[in-house]
């Protein structure tokens, strides 16, 4: 039911882990629903220089996390902010319809991480 690409990212996920001194951290989902992910970003010269994730969830949740990090890495923060659930699903050659809503949360976690990064940056300015 999963595409080969989803299975490949599930089996060999990219950028798993945490960044201790991350510039932004975003967590979305809920263990009650069966999916919860945290995204960590490190920003240098306005670009996503490092990105890591930790995900509790199904195959699609892990694969979308992996793909989101791959899409975001090296992009400017402004570009990365535009990555949508649909972009992630398309890059994985599609997801089963039921998974589009419940497990495709990685781009949301990325947005949250970017929001956190911007907020921290604002605070530093003050």
């Amino acid at each position: 039911m999963y595409s080969d690409k989803v299975m490949e990212h599930f089996k060999n996920p990219r950028n798993v882990g945490e960044i201790k001194d991350a510039d932004g951290v975003g967590t979305v989902g809920n263990p009650v629903c069966g999916d919860m992910m945290t995204m960590y970003i490190k920003v240098k010269n306005g670009k996503i220089a490092d990105i890591k994730f930790k995900t509790y969830g199904c195959g699609a949740a892990i694969a979308t996390s992996s793909m989101s990090t791959e899409l975001a890495l090296g992009k400017t923060v402004d570009e990365a902010e535009k990555i949508t659930r649909q972009n992630v699903a398309d890059a994985l050659d599609g997801l089963p319809p039921v998974k589009m809503h419940c497990s495709n949360l990685a781009s949301d976690a990325l947005q949250e991480a970017i929001k956190d990064y911007r907020k921290k940056k604002e605070e530093k300015k003050k």
Binding site: V16, P31, G34, K54, T55, C58, C102
Partner: protein
Amino acid sequence: MDNGSGAPVDPRVLQEMLPYFTEHVGNPSSFHSEGFKALKAINRARQQIADLINAEPAEIFFTASATEATNLAIIGGAIRYKNKGNRVVSSAVEHISTVNICKELTRTGWEYQQAPVDADGVVLLDKLDELVTDKTVIVTVMAANGEIGTIQPIKDAAAIAHKKGAFFHTDATAALGKIPLDVKAMDIDMMTLSSNDIYGPKGVGALYVKKILRLRPVIIGGGQEQGLRSGTENTPGIVGFGKAAELAKQELPTEAKRLTGLRDHLIKGITSTIPETYLNGHTTNRTPNNANVRFSYIEGEALILSLDDVGLQVNTGSACAAKTLEPSACLLATGLKPEDAHGSLVFTLGKANNKEQIDYVIQQLPAIVKRLRSMSSITPEELK
């Protein structure tokens, strides 16, 4: 190790079925020698199935599935005995098909209630007793649970129903051929029987109906199966179901013992080598073929995909691999939190499984669990 969802037809069963596709193709309702042959074969199957549960052949009615048998029992019983009352009661861990059939009745003025279960999934008899009233027409409690393997006290549940003049139905799909069933000793009024859960073909089931009971049919037509289930009989399927029942009766004592050994080896092997893994369901009061194990901090679908990758097919109590997004209603009924229910694996062992395969699971699982836990956002520090 997902025999609960689908197991191959026993070759001896298939052999018995084959002539009824191509040689003995008469309609059992026809008054000629080929028709008589088919009728004779069907009645032999009726006897073979009756023998497995200590019923009379005339009390076995063939249907196209276990689900259809339960429809006939509950809907057919409710319509026939509606003058008695308007209540149906089940346990809280019934198969989704039974639950949906009971819910369907509530559209036409029936009341449906579920008796809770304990942490092992055993129905609480005192609660069942409270729910069954003079207005209760049917009480249904499954013989054993297909997901967590828990065996229900159906003899006691039947006594509770009878005390209030209600009929007692049991879905024996997950119990047939796994544990001894005796409709007379257990005083069962109706029992749902499945063919494909005992190495028979799919597309055939049966309902045992005690002689004194009268049901309204839910499928109306030419009056086959004593008018209870119209439609041309599926002769090859029924013949196969009969043979499967005969073999199940012969092999139950030895196979149950063998599977219990494998099951307990699997449970112990997993829970003793992987931290924070727990057995769902009762330790001993469970069907010989079922092991349901819960893994904290990881999700069931990710587990089954990983196991599939090393050649092992198992099932999960997780919502993420199901058609709906709800976690297993059965596990929730036992008091598990949704996040715990998500991380459960269901092993249903069968004839084709042996000790080497169980050892392989025990050998493969620790690394899989470790990998998923190391990726998980909710794994505590000490388990990473």
